[in-house]
Amino acid sequence: MKFAFRDVMTITKRQLLQLARIPEVLVFSTIQPVMFVLLFRFVFGGSIQTGQPGGYVQLLMPGIFVQTVAFTLAATAVGLAEDMKKGLIDRFRSLPISRGAVVIGRTFGDALLNILVLTVMAAAGYAVGWRPTSGGLSIFLAFLFLFMFGYALSWIGIYVGLAVKEARTVQSVGFLVTFPLTFLSNAFAPTTGMPKALQYFAEWNPVSTMVAACRQLFGLKNEFGATATSWPSQHPLETSLLYMVVLMVVFIPLSIRKYKNTSN
């Protein structure tokens, strides 16, 4: 037990070392979100009319932030599946280290990477006209929410990675889950144009509540909400927080247990 924390740190450090040894990974994991910022800003930004002072980019940025941290799920799952395939997880399991250390260390590593990615994206957003209007504390809280959301999803990623095992399949499963979640939401377009059933889904979708929460924290009114009267639309901060807590309470013990019992 004495070494549990140190074991976690060693595993996390390994992931950071990987980034140092192959900087391409870092470059590509930041290029994609930056590309999204630019594409949405310049392709849709001109034609989507909003009543928002400062234009579409103000609404867009929270959406892209949430979408990007949502992909942590796939990133964690793929990383873990690759380690399993290469036998590295077997090696770790034959060492006298605390059993949760390997998966906890990975979620920490992916969380640290998220901080970096969010920073780069914020800079890119700023460059194309994104200007949060709330105070420093609110902005910090928004990023804390994004960070925590990514971390919670990382734990689902651990479960998916352990359950699916094959890295390529894991990648597909990850995208299969995250793409509909990010697009069936208020992230890029108003939900009011969707069919009724989808609207309902979009309204309760954690991605929507997260986007709404961030918009609120960045000082915007939540223009893309489905039905402004529904509880999640009215209380995006509370709903998002609830989602994150539930996800972590369920998936952290579940994934650690799965790790202990999995042998490939």
Binding site: R21, G87, L95, S263
Partner: protein
């Protein structure tokens, strides 16, 4: 004292459909090398995984260094080293990074981890490549690094699961040298292999397994004797065949086997029979193209024990895939 004891291990996959281990028992005396020999899918890896605490058997017991692997896996992990079929190291990191990381995970201090890493790199002739990512290493170098990682804290018991599978002949020779050095240091080693020659080279004792059972057990010599004694083999020109057959029949006193120009027959007197044959051939002015005293190879052992040859890799591989990628 026995360092490794496995008793009546049973392991099934796919709800009992595939019986990987079927009442397998074996033991290894402290400081000796046991080679578990068998074709793909025979149960070698399952055995190693159970002994190295990675897999729970359906039934049966196992102890390593006197400790029950199912009851106290953490204690067992402090005493063992494991090197698997593939190099289980982080390929994106350098050799140095990997060994230092494993040192830290074995709970050595920072300075001690670095020191140990450098010692091991030196010992396995990897110092020059220490700062290169593993993915630039040759197969043999990867295996050596993987082996080094399993020796961070001098293990009492070492498990090597097919340490040379996939290596070229030179890489294999190097690996054998490294393993032989290790064994001199007194470690107890359980080594699995599908190469009969490898078992012959490295092991004090051999356990032949097939379909999850130990089907024969003993020293290389004892196993060979079990199959039959030595054979005298003489290759001559076509014109000398008949005469040579007469000579060999006289010495051997038993049935001859003639394969094109090679005459072979079982003999019980070993080198005496060989010299006798040479003298007789010389007197008859026959110059043999080749003459030798052949001991049965482990291939012969396997064939006579199991009724099929050991190197049935392609077929065994496809069976493995059907079993859902079980290793």
């Amino acid at each position: 004292m026995k360092s490794i004891i496995a008793e009546h291990l049973v392991k099934t996959y796919r709800n009992g459909e595939v019986r990987a281990l079927d009442d397998l028992s074996l033991d290894v005396e402290e400081g000796t090398v046991l080679s578990v020999l068998g074709p793909n899918g025979a149960g070698k890896t399952s055995t190693v995984r159970i002994l190295a605490t990675l897999l729970k058997p359906d039934s049966g017991n196992a102890t390593v260094a006197g400790i029950d692997v199912a009851k106290h896996p953490d204690k067992v992990r402090e005493l063992i080293g494991l090197s698997g079929q593939y190099a289980a190291v982080d390929e994106t990191l350098t050799g140095w990074d990997n060994l230092v990381m494993f040192g830290r995970l074995y709970h050595l201090g920072k300075a001690a981890s670095v020191k140990r890493a450098e010692q091991l790199l030196e010992r396995f002739s990897l110092t020059d490549s220490a700062r290169r990512p593993i993915k630039t290493y040759s197969g043999g170098m990867r295996r050596r690094l993987d082996l080094a990682a399993s020796l961070i804290v001098q293990p009492k018991v070492l498990f090597l699961d097919e340490p040379t599978t996939g290596l070229d002949p030179r890489g294999r020779q190097e690996m054998w040298g490294v393993i032989q050095e290790l064994v001199k240091g007194g470690v107890t080693l359980l080594l699995t292999t599908q190469y009969l020659e490898e078992a012959d080279q490295l092991a004090d004792e051999i356990a032949v397994i097939d379909h999850g059972k130990v089907i024969a057990r003993g020293t290389s010599d004892a196993l060979k004797k079990q199959v039959g004694g030595e054979r005298l083999e003489i290759t001559v020109e076509n014109s000398d065949i008949t005469h040579t057959q007469e000579i060999v029949a006289r010495i051997s006193g038993t049935a001859l086997h003639t394969d094109v120009r090679t005459i072979s027959a079982p003999v019980s007197t070993g080198s005496v029979a060989l010299m006798e044959a040479l003298r007789a051939l010389d007197e008859a002015k026959i110059h043999p193209l080749d003459i030798s005293l052949k001991r049965p190879s482990l291939d012969d052992v396997f064939l006579s024990l199991t009724g099929h040859v050991a190197e049935d890799e392609v077929a065994a591989d496809s069976v493995k895939k059907k079993r859902g990628g079980k290793k």
